[in-house]
Amino acid sequence: MATSRAPLESQGLPGWLQAMPFGLVFAAFFVLPLCFVIMVSFWDYNEYEMIPAFTTRSYTESFEGCLADLPNLCTMLATYLSTAKFCLIVWALTLSIGFTVAYFLAFYVRSATTQMVLFLVCTIPFWTSNVIRMISWIPLLGRNGLVNQLLMSAHLVNAPVEWLLYSQFSVALAFVHLFTFFMVAPIFNSMMRIDRRLIEAAYDSGASAWQMLTNVIMPLSKPGIAIGSIFVITIVMGDYITFSVMGGGQIASAGKIVATRLDALQFPPAAASAVILLVATMVIIGVLNRIVDIRKEL
């Protein structure tokens, strides 16, 4: 940097003024609402309305029986355990698929234009509706769907396979279908930033493609992996739409607890379950943030 340059700060409007409209939106529609959620979770309520009087009723009711019934799991713990199971399965699948796709794009596609076009091909579905992408599995996996038609005509099964749709399988499948992009994008971004000279050096030192992958590329892709993991895990934790649409109303999840309580129009219990969900999410991010400093990597 030449010293003769005046700093950018001296130009035009001050930064805080330019950022103000952006900041005001988040103050009014994100920070303040979260404060309201926390506040209302400690309010009392009756069948018709919430009552501004301090009580921990919503929390004690949420965790009712959680200690008394041990070793049996109460509803809250069982639901969180089941959601955690989905998180783990979906995380493992999106990570392995996303990493492989990003690895191919970053290191095996030679022309930059092809690279961008193929990346765009992966991105376009992200700009279309999730619900449509979910219902598009119905003609494939339904009772009379393509998969069952094929299995029946090949005489592999005698009756249609029922667990293909509206099941744990279809929920996990939909998550992988919808959200692998959240892994591909950050991992691809990390891989593109790897200094190609490191690859050359490893190659010149006689590293095999596999050694290159495990000793050079994987460690240097860690930031992208961490960011992708945060996205995928928090999405599964907080989701209720995929669980509802693909689970056929049968599968409970952490996010669905909030939605169900909202359907009953009871704000304080819904807010309490939202706070519990928020805390669980923060714990996960805290753990992942220990592994990698997110801010540094953007």
Binding site: G15, P33, V101, S129, I132, L140, V258
Partner: protein
């Protein structure tokens, strides 16, 4: 890397092809099925080919006010797009300078992506309930008497959508300005351009293609948003909310027709955006500097 395609290339290319098939295959299936004949069902085989289900859909055959939901979603999407572009661009410019609270603002924006949408939606709903109560109880009677609710598509609904689109807008702006060569600005300033002239004639034309990308995110994310909309739209539903409500009672292909129509809008917007970006890029090449060229 080395000359000649390594064996791994073919394996990985096959994997990638399968992934793309996995992404697009199911969508293509419902596009085909939405053209089922009048007697056709939810699965193959096709029972003739027709536009029957599209007609049924747009005549409101059995389903709630789809045309109204379509207009509402379109209007909201366009407003969200415009605000996302303007606010993200301003914030992107601001983050190039140092300002008090920039760190906090960044973390809040990222947190807004990560906090489950249903929680944000619930918070906004509570906020507007409290606001309604305040207005009913304390506002002068000429306001309070006719007042029903401050909640609505362009108040709480708009805010809810912006908390989802703006973080993406900001991240795209970061990516743009990380690659931006500040020497262009300095050159403009050295020749006596005012900050506004520098922005208008130097910075904006250079970042314009990427700003179109921000607009694309703004529209498509709003057009398909459900979780944040669920508690914040007031009395009228947006299109994706109607679509989600329909999934509980999927009995005939009009839901596919709705899916195809919605996706057609998404694809049209994506195509317009990509086309504009390529035009802007070509224009930049034409009018850009010839420095360093032979």
């Amino acid at each position: 890397m080395n000359e000649g395609r390594p064996l791994a290339f073919y394996g990985l290319a096959a994997f990638f092809a399968l992934f793309v098939l996995f992404l697009y295959g199911p969508m293509i299936v419902i596009f085909i099925l939405s053209f089922q004949g009048p007697g056709g069902g939810l699965t193959f085989p096709m029972n003739g080919v027709s536009l029957h289900w599209f007609y049924r859909l747009w005549e409101g055959g059995g389903i709630v006010d789809i045309a109204g939901a379509f207009r509402r979603s379109l209007a909201l999407g366009l407003v969200v797009m415009a605000l996302t572009v303007v606010l993200s661009l301003m914030a992107g410019l601001a983050f190039r300078k140092r300002f008090v609270g920039s760190n906090a603002l960044f973390y809040v924006a990222v947190a807004s992506l990560i906090v489950p949408s249903i929680v944000t939606s619930l918070g906004i709903a509570i906020e507007f309930h409290v606001l309604d109560d305040l207005i009913k109880n304390y506002a002068p009677s000429w306001i309070a008497d006719d007042f029903t609710t401050s909640m609505g598509q362009f108040t709480s609904g708009l805010g809810a959508h912006l908390t989802w689109t703006l973080p993406f807008g900001l991240l795209v702006m970061f990516a743009i300005f990380n690659r931006f060569d500040a020497r262009y600005e300095e050159a403009a300033r050295d020749q006596g351009a005012t900050p506004w002239q520098t922005l208008r004639h130097v910075v904006l034309p250079i970042v314009a293609p990427s700003v179109v990308g921000v607009g694309l995110f703004g529209f498509t994310l709003s057009w398909d948003e459900i979780a944040r909309s669920s508690q914040t739209m007031g009395e009228h539903n947006t299109l994706p909310m109607e679509l989600q409500a329909l999934t509980t009672t999927v009995t005939n292909p009009d839901i596919y027709a709705l899916g195809t129509s919605t996706t057609a809008v998404s694809f049209a917007v994506i195509a317009i955006a990509l086309f504009s970006i390529s035009i802007l890029n070509a224009r930049q090449k034409r009018h850009g500097s010839d420095a360093g060229q032979a």
